[in-house]
Amino acid sequence: MMRTPPILYVNLVLFALVVWHAVTWFMLIGKAQPIQFTERPLSWKAVFGVNVLLWVGVSGAVVYLIFGGF
């Protein structure tokens, strides 16, 4: 059923929405919750970059721990 066009289109839209949510959420974190280690808080771009790296790492962990790897 997942391969039928209507469901596939729904899943493509769902995927685009969750990726959009992830990207905008990571862009928001550094602005809504400034992280401060030194005198000045980290720029939102740095926080965004760290979150994207974490995202890649977490996604890899999910692939192996939850879905059994390749």
């Binding site: 992830a22 977490v58 999910v62 692939v63 721990l65 879905f67």
Partner: protein, 151 residues
Amino acid sequence: MAEEIGSTRESLAYNAGRETVHADPKTGEPEVFLEPLLWGLFSLGGFITAFLFPITVFLLFLAPVFGLWPTDPAAYLTFAAHWREPLVRLFFFVLIGGSLFHGTHRLKFMLVDAGLRGPGIQAALDVILNAIAIVGTLGALYYAVRGWLFV
């Protein structure tokens, strides 16, 4: 000698055994408990949705269909084998619960911004949307523990 009174209208003198000295003045307003809890669940759910949802949708619904993955993780036998592991059950419980609490809270404020304002309407939205999140999370919990804690 006059007793020194601070800006919080409480005595600054040492008063052990008499009453607790509060840093904040008592305003008489009821303590807000549920609002920060729901905002906390919204924030936690936002992280859960951002970090875990894209890879889950990709692996379960898109990658096998487009031939981007050697196996089909959504195939019944494959998924049923993974579902025996407690970590997998915990993963889907957290994913579903977090996404529901995030999504319903966000939907509420989208509807408020769209014009559904007023104390009665907002209370109704709170009840309906939080009920959806709670019932959905309990449903996920039921399926996560079914076959493990009970048959």
